[in-house]
């Protein structure tokens, strides 16, 4: 099926020869359980100067595809069949030695995580120079000059200084710029960008993607962009390939696929992607049966300092944050990494004593609580963590996990506890069969449901959700968000939603506080903030949300 589509496109413009042609590619891994194929019969084309986005959720085989193209599969991986043609030459059977001659020169890589992708004990300059040395591009002096030129080109200030620095002295965004400099150094025909911005903040992401775009145009390089973010693909790609379970679901020009997805899975992905904003309006129209007269959370001038090394140096993580949350509504705290949003949440839950300021939860002053009273507060306010792999004890069964909070308070008879656990499991749409299993046997989405069940089993008033959907695939994320919405309406819960993702925040919250370097730079009803941002930072944040270019065109159609 997929091949048919491909043949059609090839015949449509045969003159424009592809840089990369993948035909019927199959890749497998050898594991303890025998051989497992993870990429099945994938065919695609990348033409000169084009950006092809390879989109899929975790386990879709997209990263395996990228590794296969550049010949860097894990040791237990193997090409099982098919062809990878680079400028017409099939490189799928090449030895590593042969591949070494084209890597860096004809194909290069922009990796996922800039913090671990540079050698910590070599200088930036040496690592950029290396690609030139390997391919013997000029004398030492020429290479040194070219390194400075490249670092300047990717927008690093003080390039001479940067060349002498070590990776840990640079920020994540700066490191990704260095890695881009390495990737474009020899003007390759094809760059493989494997989730190049997933580890970066949204404003940095925009700047990095802009840089890749700019260099691509300047050098005429084609880009194979591997991403889980449909918004990024929508903004940056000409052509999109949707992968699921190692098979192509659909591919075609980006505008076409966004406007009229042919396959069910693509439709679902589009609907679930918060950044594409398609379902948002439908989502928000809902009745609010329980909106109490009082405020569930009141935060007044919260300040949180941390001591740094010596006793005198302090770092102010949260600096004068104030907001109130009405009962039965959702308030979001949004910000990038280091904005203090998680610190603020932990002070509100009572995990740490704020330096100054007051926090009321359900009318109780939290900051002065100690010992037994603080423990009693847990019946009112509960926290759900970002990573459901880390927040569940691997040795407990699901039943034990959900039952545990009940054991901590007024003892209930065993049957009552079991009844409550069964009931709450129904609430979060988990089958009763998971009760005897342990967390490792559950998927990420199921685990997060367990975490929510544990939080709800004490019938709390307030749920603090710390990036609670950030680690999940977009379709799973949509399901959890829907579940949270249902629960809020049924139980009259108040949510404090901590997130870096503005698109999600806009979708589910009523009011919002925008944090930047510990300060609250914006706040109020969510639509007010999005329509009339009160600070330059909020404006930048909003404009950096991916998926706005093509999606907007699409929604006007």
């Amino acid at each position: 099926m997929t091949t048919a589509i491909n043949i059609k496109t090839v015949s449509a413009d045969a003159a424009n020869l592809p840089i990369l042609e993948i035909r019927n590619l199959a890749v497998g891994y050898r594991g303890n359980q025998g051989f497992q194929r993870v990429v099945h019969d994938v065919s695609l084309l990348v033409r000169p100067g084009e950006v092809v986005a390879l989109v899929g959720e975790s386990g879709s085989g997209k990263t395996t595809m990228a590794q296969a193209v550049i010949g860097l599969l894990a040791e237990n991986g193997r090409l099982e069949g098919g062809a990878i043609r680079l400028n017409g030459t099939d490189i799928s059977g090449w030895s590593q030695k042969q591949l070494d001659t084209i890597r860096g020169r004809q194909i290069s890589l922009i990796p996922q995580d800039p913090t671990t992708s540079l050698n910590p004990v070599k200088t930036i300059g040496a690592q950029v120079a290396e690609v030139l040395q390997i391919h013997r591009q000029g004398s030492r002096a020429e290479i040194d000059a070219r390194v400075i030129e490249l670092l300047t080109r990717v927008g690093l200030s003080q390039p001479e200084l940067r060349a002498k620095q070590y990776p840990h002295e640079l920020s994540g965004g700066m490191r990704q710029r260095v890695l881009i400099a390495i990737a474009v150094a020899l003007r390759p025909a094809l760059i493989i960008a494997d989730e190049p911005t997933s580890a970066l903040d949204v404003t940095v992401q925009k700047r990095i993607l802009d840089l890749i775009d700019e260099l691509r145009r300047e050098y005429g390089t084609a880009v194979l962009l591997v991403t889980h973010d449909l918004g990024v693909a929508a903004d940056r790609a000409n052509h999109i390939v949707v992968l699921k379970g190692g098979r192509i679901q659909e591919q075609g020009p980006i505008a076409e696929v966004l406007a009229s997805p042919r396959c069910e899975y693509t439709r679902k992905l589009l609907a679930d992607a918060p950044s594409l904003g398609k379902t948002r309006s439908a989502f928000r129209v809902r009745s609010r049966p329980i909106v109490g007269p009082d405020d569930a959370i009141v935060v007044e001038n919260l300040v949180q300092d941390f001591a740094l090394g010596g006793k005198r140096d302090v770092f102010r993580a949260v600096d004068g944050v104030s907001f109130t949350v009405q009962r039965g509504t959702t308030h979001a705290i949004v910000g990038e990494s280091g904005s203090g949003k998680t610190t603020a949440a932990r002070s509100i839950v009572g995990f740490q004593k704020p330096t100054s300021g007051r926090v009321f939860v359900d009318g109780t002053e939290v900051t002065t609580l100690r010992g037994e009273n603080l423990r009693r507060l847990r019946k009112t306010i509960q926290l759900v963590y970002q990573n459901p792999f880390a927040s569940l004890d691997p040795r407990q069964t699901i039943f034990q996990i959900v039952e545990e909070p009940l054991l901590n308070f007024d003892p209930l008879p065993r049957e009552d506890r079991a009844r409550k656990v069964h009931a709450i499991l129904d609430r979060v749409d988990l089958p009763q069969s998971v009760l005897t299993r342990r967390p490792h046997a559950l998927s990420g989405g199921q685990r997060q449901r367990v975490a929510i069940a544990r939080a709800l089993v004490l019938d709390p008033q307030v749920l603090v959700l710390d990036e609670a959907v950030s680690a999940l695939d977009v379709t799973v994320q949509a399901q959890i968000l829907e579940l949270l919405d249902e629960l809020q309406q049924a139980l009259g819960l108040t949510y404090l939603f901590i997130s870096h993702d503005l698109a999600v925040v806009r979708q589910i919250s009523d009011t919002v506080s925008v944090l930047h370097n510990g300060r609250q730079v914006d706040g109020g009803p969510v639509e007010d903030v999005f329509q009339r941002p009160g600070s330059a930072y909020t404006r930048e944040l909003i404009s950096a949300i991916p998926g706005q270019r093509n999606a907007n065109q699409h929604s006007f159609q």
Binding site: F351, R378, D393
Partner: protein, 303 residues
Amino acid sequence: MTGLNTIGRSLLRDDANIPVKYSQVSRQATSAGHVLRILRSIKPGLVLSWLVMGVVVFWALFPQWFTSYSATVGVARQQLRAPSADHWLGTDALGRDLLARIIYGAGNSLSGALVAVGVGLMVGTTLGIVAGSARGRIDGAIMRGVDVLLSIPQLLLSLSIVILLGFGIVNAAIAVGITSIASFARLARSEVVRVRASDYVEAAFGSGGTFSRVLLRHILPNSLTSVIAFAALQLGWAILTISTLGFLGYGAPPPTPEWGLLIAEGRNYLARAWWLTTIPGIVVILVVLSANRISQSFGKAKA
């Protein structure tokens, strides 16, 4: 006996794990493929290690089942015989059967190692857990003490303790155990600190758990896996170190059959009776290798 129990239990647990892991990876496989995969996942080295340990444990418990010769009384006119059908591993200068001495020696070496690991495990782990749970000054005091213990080379420390306690196999074992307290304490503390920092422990506090409940329910069970794996590793090391003390003459007095002592005694007949030193050494290597391999599998099961 407890050793045997844990061995059996963990074997059962390993078996129980295989289908779970397998079902996670691929659900459509046939039952024939299932059996095949379980067979493939059996590691021959590990099976062999359990076998060696099992045999040695039985030697220690029921030596009379394995040999009819005495370990201490020699047979007249059978001195320094090479390995033969009568004496599979030959005889020593007093006409004692080497195999019998190795078999009876297993009890001394193994119980010594168990005592040593027991001392290290009990004292070290307790110190480590207290340090990791209490933090602050208590933590600082305990860990500085551990630093001091670590600063004295283990052999010198155990020699100093052996002088204090007097020579003998139990005293040597206790000395060896004391030198391993520091490593146990360090490991237990770092595990407790690691587990304490995890989200699920905070979540347990967040759902209203008191300190003692969270400690018992989450922190201890999750910290102890690595400590147990380390204890298995230390078992091999203890056998080795006790045999070293035995060789130097600080362990069991002759004519007690102890593996290190066997090698020391055989040293006088190097030119005439190679088997007296070579074979006990190979036995020690096999047992230590097996203990290490088993410890490694504990570590893997955790990850």
